[in-house]
Subunit: 334 residues, 2 copies
């Protein structure tokens, strides 16, 4: 087993410096920190848990409290991003999935206190408002894909407006001027934000917003099928469809085929989410806009760790809502 | 906050009996245990963590060490089943996703020891053989959707042979005698077991196995598309396709449409996995065979807890490999 002296030797620094890196002391230069982390990784050095915990009062465990991320297929990349950021700091991520059960959440908070978790990430499987208890541990808390109205804690969410704008702009750039929108029938941030982005892109292009081109459906393939049929059977039909998510696009594909139209020659289709299990597998492969799940997971953990080294009471002095861009993923459907 | 006396009163038992249920003592009658659990649930009673831990030397935490379940969309119901079984016993499930990184796994095992986890579940996102370290904590360990060749630990896996049999039998019962199989090109238990079940069902029906009807592909929609085109363009084409998974079926759908054939009238299609995000959303909705992810998660946790109360050293005296049935999910494609 390698020890701290081996790490110091390989990195060309003192044992004291390695220890400062391990304790996340903010005074270490970034380049020195990188060298030490590289040596730790090359040697597969594992700091003694109890020794560290005694020194720092920390467990090196970051807890991720999720509603349903671990039990649904939609947002698993949140966990991937959070865990990779956690590992960068030689910490461990442990996940508690609560299904919004308050008693499970309370017991999770008890454990976070008893075992001195370094920080807590509250994450949801879709972008929404949440209401947290007043009784939370005094450690850094970051909200991921969700936010509180009161803004007590820092939060990271997708930039839905920019995402809706990017999708619409991609269609406009290919010459489409009649763009149908099959939106979701529940007014959550994804619905409202993407609609706003759609309107903004149309306005920039000098095209009047036509409410008759917007249809509200259930967010599933069945809704995409119904919505696409309704829009495409009109006399002055749209030449492109912006679908609220990739499943809606999947249903739209079926309607388009049923009407003997071709994708993208007769009708261009763009989705949202970049749920690869659908988007990459459709025929033709679906152009879509990606939810930045991985990047949000990474940001939340890195921000929590930065608070850990800067704030003595663990709370963020100036909590911000950080928005992350939703990039266009180009495939073959537009 | 309700206390143990409130639970005893509501359940009509003594405080001692409630305590015995909380400690999972095997001597409590099942009916009494059920009454107490009902009262606990009705009152939302939360046993004091530290008090219990002192009495029992247990943390009431079950650790689930997963390779990639929490970061892929394929097997999330494993976590759902495991967590619901854990909650039945007023314990908490915490998930460590390792991506097969040995250093992460080692640190997870250190934490399981330091925090006195009750039990560990080792789970994989597809059915496969694994090789565990020799250096494991002396607590119950159960393997979930995986197994070791040496059979040290109890294990729960899907009954792939029965699943392949059920899919083929469903097609035979609808009168098909030429059934194509688009199998996976890597010889893992799912590939071999489902092929064996397919052969067994044909044999029972007195139909000779025809290797020309079996195609090996990549397990994705692209493979399903290629495989279905190849099989359906032969002169004596199959009238039904058994696809290795739902994504393969999704690709087969595209090929069938491209050849202007109808599902199920010209070609019946059956999938495997029951990945709802695909199977329920395809048009027509896909008949498939379900992987018993939820049930395996439930079984693994319940078995670990039964070991906890029966074996003093935490090891299973007679580790078994438990196979769980893969049920047919009937929709509209056969």
């Amino acid at each position: 087993m390698p020890n701290i002296s081996d790490v110091a030797e390989l990195a060309g620094v003192s044992r004291k410096t390695v220890s400062r890196v391990l304790n996340d002391e903010p005074t270490v230069k970034a380049s020195t920190r990188a060298k030490v982390l590289e040596a730790i990784s090359a040697l597969n050095y594992i700091p003694s848990q109890s020794a560290r915990q005694m020194r720092t009062g920390q467990s090196n465990i970051i807890g991720l409290i999720s509603d349903e991320i671990a039990t649904t297929p939609y947002a698993v990349d949140i966990i991937k991003g959070a865990q990779e950021a956690t590992w960068e700091y030689s910490k461990l991520l442990t996940i508690f999935n609560t299904e919004n059960d308050i008693s499970v959440e309370k017991r999770t908070l008890d454990i976070a206190r008893a075992y001195r978790f370094d920080a807590l990430i509250y994450a949801t499987f879709y972008h929404r408002e949440i209401h947290l208890s007043e009784d939370l541990p005094d450690i850094p808390i970051v909200l991921l894909d969700c936010y509180e109205a009161n803004g007590r804690f820092p939060s990271v969410v997708p930039d839905e407006v920019q995402g809706g704008y990017a999708a619409t702009k991609a269609l406009l750039e290919r010459g489409h001027t009649r763009i149908g929108l099959i939106n979701f029938d529940t007014p959550i941030p994804a619905t409202l934000g993407r609609l706003e982005g759609y309107k903004r892109a149309l306005e920039e292009a000098g095209i009047a917003f036509d409410p008759a081109l917007c249809i509200y459906e259930n967010g599933l393939a069945s809704g995409g099928y119904r919505g696409a049929r309704a829009l495409l059977q009109r006399t002055n039909r749209p030449t492109a469809l912006f679908c609220w998510n990739d499943r809606v696009a999947m249903g739209a594909y079926d309607a388009i085929r049923m009407l003997n139209l071709a994708i993208p020659d007769d009708v261009a289709v763009i989705g949202f989410d970049n749920q690869e299990i659908i988007a990459a597998e459709l025929h033709p492969a679906l152009t879509t806009v990606q939810l930045p799940h991985y990047e949000m997971g990474q940001w939340a953990v890195r921000h929590a760790i930065s608070l850990l080294s800067s704030a003595s009471d663990g709370r963020d002095p100036k909590p911000v809502q950080h928005k992350i861009e939703c990039p266009l993923i180009e495939r073959e459907s537009i």
